[in-house]
Symmetry: C2
Subunit: 332 residues, 2 copies
């Protein structure tokens, strides 16, 4: 069904206030959940809200905790998330990276001891809305086999890169596995194969069968050895900058996944050239992509293009929600 | 055959001096080529040297040109490579990013109007050898179809992330296509299939046949739509920070690929915690990877591990070179 954005936001806000979160923070935290659903990522929006409330109740997430700076050198800072709400911590640290970028051209923040930041793309849009380039990533519990092994040793560590543009920001938000477990479940329940190979079956062969991959837990990293290596490096940089947990330090129980290490980098790209230069360059890249595909009768989209379409539709017609999930959330 | 590193280095240095490069710069430029072959990447070492000399002779590369800073804000700078030797320009800009990181914690340099940097991994090792995290990437001419199209519209833009570690740096060096054209040729000449799908054949099916992909020019981006999106973002950030060329601005003739845009980011990770903290964290990640794989009778390597093995062997026994290439280089 379709729910007005304001109702979605207010419903989650009121629940968080009842869970003890300060009203202004509850409003912001609920907004970040609502924004995810609004932008077509319900897996880290409304659908994830119930588990978030459960983690508040099990004290994995401390609704009172605010992040604090624990070390710094100029444009580089380390923050301790104190196991507070992951999306508020992440938003605060991207905001700090943006401040640092305005002063120093570039700013970098390592955040440790936080919690799941839900949809990482939110912090990319945040940076681009502020007119700066945003780059951020998080580590996760071990949920993907490293290349060369059959057991989960690396995280599917999401990576976000966002560049501001007047006509629509360019925002990439990708995890290091070809598909998430959420995506496997969606395909399985629809009785559909994956569009491309997503992992290995019991006999060690690449497969598009989502149920087989759920059984083996052998998700495929993007680009095989390449995505496996990239996941390792994102973990290494995140853990060293934050001084916090690495993937191997996490519990493998999803409900106990707490203490994530994250990195937030902001770059004030418009400081380097004449006014309008960045827009002209990015417009040129987007136009060349559209024109090149169109010239052979095909279509290509830039990262973030689809998000804006979904967002417009959600705000005009209401945010699409799963009926069962919406009913459950309203009983929280 | 095997050639002593010093002989490989001196041979290329002497040729560059004859091409008009200042001796100290020729020595450094040749060293970067020799280092690539030494580390097991001859495609961007000795094998690429002939084309580099040809581009000097065709005046695509200006042996006299040195990069200059054209704009800055604190820890962020834009440099103009003035079409000088790509590897010297890249090394100079990573060195500058390292200086900025020592002063500001983090430093970022956008380099435009440069040339092919050859092996990007060199600049990652450079940063890690200096004790800082290095992140860098380059754009390229269009050589990979964007997701949704069958024609080359994006670059295979290599991305490097390096983290220092006393027991061996962790260094990732990956291009955005699953295989390079060089790798396709190697497999074709050996009569071997690719180990995984590398692109599309004439009927639009994924294939491991290198010759079929060479015919269609439909290289596969890593992770399908994900690597395609990542390649676009690396191009967007590179072009906007440098104010230089984007992938669509390049000639599609490989011998005329000039004017690359590149990004160099350095982070002084050791500034944030107690002495030895970074090493302890990275050692923990490497050890967990080795132990986790070993526990199920398998083997996994961290990015950079194989490089060190090849380097030790090359320095002990000589650098492996292709006989024909080595003969040709010595006639230059």
């Amino acid at each position: 069904m379709l729910v007005p954005y304001a109702e979605l936001h207010a419903t989650m806000r009121d629940i968080l206030v009842r869970e003890g979160m300060e009203p202004a923070r509850a409003d912001h935290c609920a907004q970040l959940f609502a924004d995810s659903s609004r932008d077509g990522v319900p897996s880290h929006g409304l659908n994830r809200f119930g588990r978030f409330v459960a983690m508040i109740r099990s004290q994995m997430v401390d609704v009172q905790a605010r992040p604090v700076r624990v070390a710094s050198l100029g444009a580089l800072e380390r923050w301790d998330g104190r196991r507070g709400p992951g999306n508020l911590n992440a938003h605060a640290c991207m905001a700090r990276a943006i401040e640092l970028a305005r002063e120093h051209g570039v700013g970098a923040v390592g955040l440790g001891n936080s919690n799941h930041w839900m949809r990482g793309g939110n912090y990319g849009w945040q940076a681009a809305d502020a007119g700066v380039i945003g780059i951020c990533w998080s580590n996760t519990l071990p949920n993907v086999p490293a290349w060369g092994t059959t057991v989960p040793l690396i995280g599917n560590n999401p990576l976000i890169i966002a560049v501001p543009r007047a006509a629509g920001h360019v925002v990439l938000d990708i995890a290091m596995s070809q598909f998430s477990y959420g995506a496997l479940a969606v395909h399985r329940m629809r009785g559909e194969e994956l569009p491309v190979d997503g992992g290995y079956d019991e006999s060690g062969r690449l497969t598009r069968d989502p149920a087989a991959i759920e059984r083996t837990q052998r998700l495929l990293p993007i680009g095989f050895w390449k995505g496996s290596g990239l996941a390792i490096l994102l973990d290494v940089v995140g853990a060293t900058l934050s001084g916090g947990k690495a993937t191997h330090d996490f519990s493998t129980v999803p409900e106990e996944e707490s203490g994530q290490s994250q990195v937030f980098i902001a770059i004030d790209v418009t400081a380097l050239g004449p006014a309008g230069e960045t827009d002209a360059i990015v417009d040129g890249i987007v136009d060349a992509l559209h024109a090149g595909a169109g010239a052979v009768g095909e279509a290509a989209r830039y990262p973030g293009e689809h998000t804006l379409e979904v967002r417009r539709k959600s705000l005009a017609e209401g945010v699409s929600v799963n009926d069962d999930v919406w009913r459950e959330v309203r009983t929280l």
